[in-house]
């Protein structure tokens, strides 16, 4: 190969370019013009898309890493080991995206370090901030060998890998506890909204429900990521593992569904499920996508043994999960706020850019690092110079 290569314009590259152009404008609007020019947030809707989608969904959908890590390292389910690095990578990138999103979300982001020194242990958000800091560190350490093993200096590399291996079980254990707390606390943030949040979502068990829903959603993301790797990144993987994962997702969703219904009925909120209100529609959309459809589909042999159908079913789970988080953070608060919040396009643009960056980072990590076993380099890879 000689000289400079001009990158070919493909459809995907064009889309990415548009997303980044819009995202950069949104970034400019947020930091040079302020919240009022970059969001539709008001005193009545102080938390919008960046919290609802960026933080609540970002953290929730990153729950796959601790689930798989616990299964492999603590419970000894060796059959999940081939997908361990993928799950940890997705979680790691997810947490990085959450931290990036906070830069947009916080009014004074340069003070993001304040919670390290200024403590308020009565604050749920204080606990959340420490979970983010600590678990991001744990995820970085858990994922680090994939990067370090590419270091050409043998002595340093072997020393680091040996040290990392020594503390690995401890890391996984601490990671499980931190991640579980973090998932629950995000629901706990809304415990203070009693009287504001709609009875379809407000419950003293918000913490439990957030935890129970995050694990199947995180596993669904892992299945989706694995499928995409097999489809387009020339990865060698027995797709039986996807069916295996989905076998775990279904009962977890079932457990969540039962807990949700028991909670609703014990609070006497069942009647709200059938009132003619906008909230009711959002509620059923959430329940249909996250609980009903996946429970039916995942039990069909036709879906179970077909990676592509599994992929689409898992995308339903993810969409249902996102609907739930947006319902808690936005829909359920609209009536009491007396307003109708529709995010500004720049809010979408910033979130989409962060998400796209995650997908691109994931793609290059799978191509250049040993995340999954690979087939021999395919023709397009040689042509593109990635193999």
């Amino acid at each position: 190969m000689t000289g400079t290569r001009v990158p070919k314009i493909t459809m995907w590259r064009a889309i990415v370019a548009v997303i980044f152009a819009a995202g950069w404008y949104a970034t400019y609007a947020r930091f040079a013009l302020g919240f009022s020019q970059s969001t539709h947030l008001t005193d009545r809707q102080p938390w919008g898309l960046w919290v609802g989608l960026g933080t609540l969904c970002g953290v929730g959908l990153s729950a796959g890493g601790f689930g798989i890590a616990a299964a492999v390292y603590l419970l000894g389910f060796e059959r999940y080991r081939p997908v361990l690095r993928t799950a940890v990578l997705v979680s790691f990138l997810g947490y990085m995206s959450v931290i990036a999103g906070m830069m947009y979300e916080l009014g004074l982001p340069w003070r993001i370090w304040h919670p390290i020194f200024m403590w308020n242990r009565h604050s749920m958000l204080f606990e959340v901030s420490w979970c983010v800091m600590l678990y991001s560190t744990v995820l970085s350490l858990e994922f680090s060998p994939a990067l370090v093993e590419k270091i050409p200096w043998n002595g340093l590399r072997d020393w680091y890998l040996k040290q990392q291996h020594r503390i690995l079980i401890g890391l996984v254990l601490v990671g499980c506890v931190l991640s579980s707390l973090h998932q629950s606390f995000l629901g706990g943030l809304y415990l203070l909204t009693k009287g504001k949040l709609d009875p379809l979502w407000y419950t003293p068990y918000l913490t439990t429900l957030f935890y129970l829903s995050a694990i199947p959603a995180g596993l669904a993301v892992t299945v989706m990521a694995l499928y995409l790797c097999v489809r387009s990144l020339n990865v060698k993987l027995d797709t039986g593992i996807l069916s295996e994962l989905s076998r775990v997702i279904a009962p977890m969703i079932g457990l969540y569904g039962i807990f949700r219904f028991v909670d609703l009925s014990s609070r006497g909120a069942v009647s709200y499920m059938f009132r003619w209100r906008e909230e009711t529609f959002s509620f059923w959309l959430e329940l249909g996508l996250f609980v009903v459809a996946p429970l039916v589909l995942l039990n069909l042999e036709k879906v179970h043994n077909n990676p592509q159908r599994l992929y689409w079913t898992c995308s339903l789970v993810v969409m249902g999960f996102m609907t739930n988080r947006l319902n808690v953070s936005i829909t359920g608060l609209q009536a009491s706020a007396g307003i109708y919040y529709v995010p500004k396009w720049t809010e979408f643009a910033a979130t989409l850019m962060v998400l796209t960056a995650v997908v691109i980072a994931f793609r290059y990590a799978v191509i250049y690092l040993d995340i999954l076993p690979k087939n021999a380099a395919s023709r397009w890879m040689v042509k593109e110079g990635v193999a």
């Binding site: 009022s36 005193d43 102080p46 603590l74 419970l75 004074l108 919670p115 958000l125 706990g188 009287g195």
Partner: protein, 245 residues
């Protein structure tokens, strides 16, 4: 408990002159224009509901949701009663706006370095023994300030003796009790004073936070136990396969 300060607003006495609004703006150096709602430059406003004038401001809860929400402790319930805000700690997360049961705090959405704005009951003035600027400016004694126990007693006496009053003091139960009270001759719902939960808010999340040590201990040891079992099983299996060879 130490004695704390409180404000009593008698809606039957308010004539809507907006002296309180203007006094508040003056002491904070805000522009004089009046608006209909609380804003970052209007920490108290007179809302008109029919022929009634209702003064809105921070309720200065006894156990404030905002102070328990604030992760860096920028919001505090001071020993004298006012709930104050320390902008130098704030990171701009706006959880206080989400948490406030009365939806009082305002955010400077138009600024590039935005802070939270809310009434601090003239905390600095009160520490020097002066009344809050708004109370001092009131010509009809619709707003008065005093020790909370005395003010509450006075409100109770007024409500009981005069049949025109609604038999409830808004703020005595709301959000577990506040340091700003309203008495009125029309129902509070008609004055935009919504029914906040009749309980202190912070215990709602404190209950979940209280579970943390248990979750960490039980969950952690459970996981460690499972790890030990699976490790042991592997060891035994390895040993057995060696013996067979």
């Amino acid at each position: 408990m130490e004695r704390t300060r409180a404000i009593l607003v008698d809606i039957t006495k308010c004539i809507g002159c907006r002296s309180c609004e203007q006094a508040c703006k003056e002491i904070h150096g805000f522009p004089k224009e009046t608006g209909a709602k609380l804003s970052p430059t209007a920490l108290t406003v007179i809302e008109e509901h029919g022929d009634k004038y209702v003064r809105r401001m921070c309720m200065h809860c006894q156990d404030p949701a905002c102070a328990s929400a604030c992760l860096v402790g920028a919001l505090k319930k001071t020993s004298l009663g006012p709930v104050t805000y320390d902008g130098s700690k704030c990171i701009g997360c706006r959880y206080c706006l989400v948490a406030c049961p009365f939806s009082v705090p305002r955010y400077e959405w138009t600024k590039l370095v935005p802070y939270v704005k809310k009434c601090d009951m003239c905390s600095a003035r009160q520490a020097k023994g002066q009344p809050p600027a708004c109370v001092e400016a009131c010509p009809t004694e619709a707003s008065i300030v005093g020790w909370r126990d005395e003010i509450l007693e006075e409100a109770q006496r007024g409500v009981l003796l005069d049949p025109k009053y609604v038999k409830h003091i808004y703020g005595s139960e709301e959000a577990g009790g506040t340091s700003v009270f309203f008495i009125s001759d029309v129902p509070f719902e008609k004055l935009g004073l919504t029914a906040a939960p009749q309980q202190a808010m912070p215990p709602l999340s404190a209950a979940a936070l209280g579970d943390v040590p248990t979750v960490v201990l039980v969950g952690g040891s459970l996981l460690a136990g499972l790890y030990w079992i699976s490790e042991r099983r592997n060891q035994v299996a390895a040993e057995e396969s060696r013996q067979i060879k």
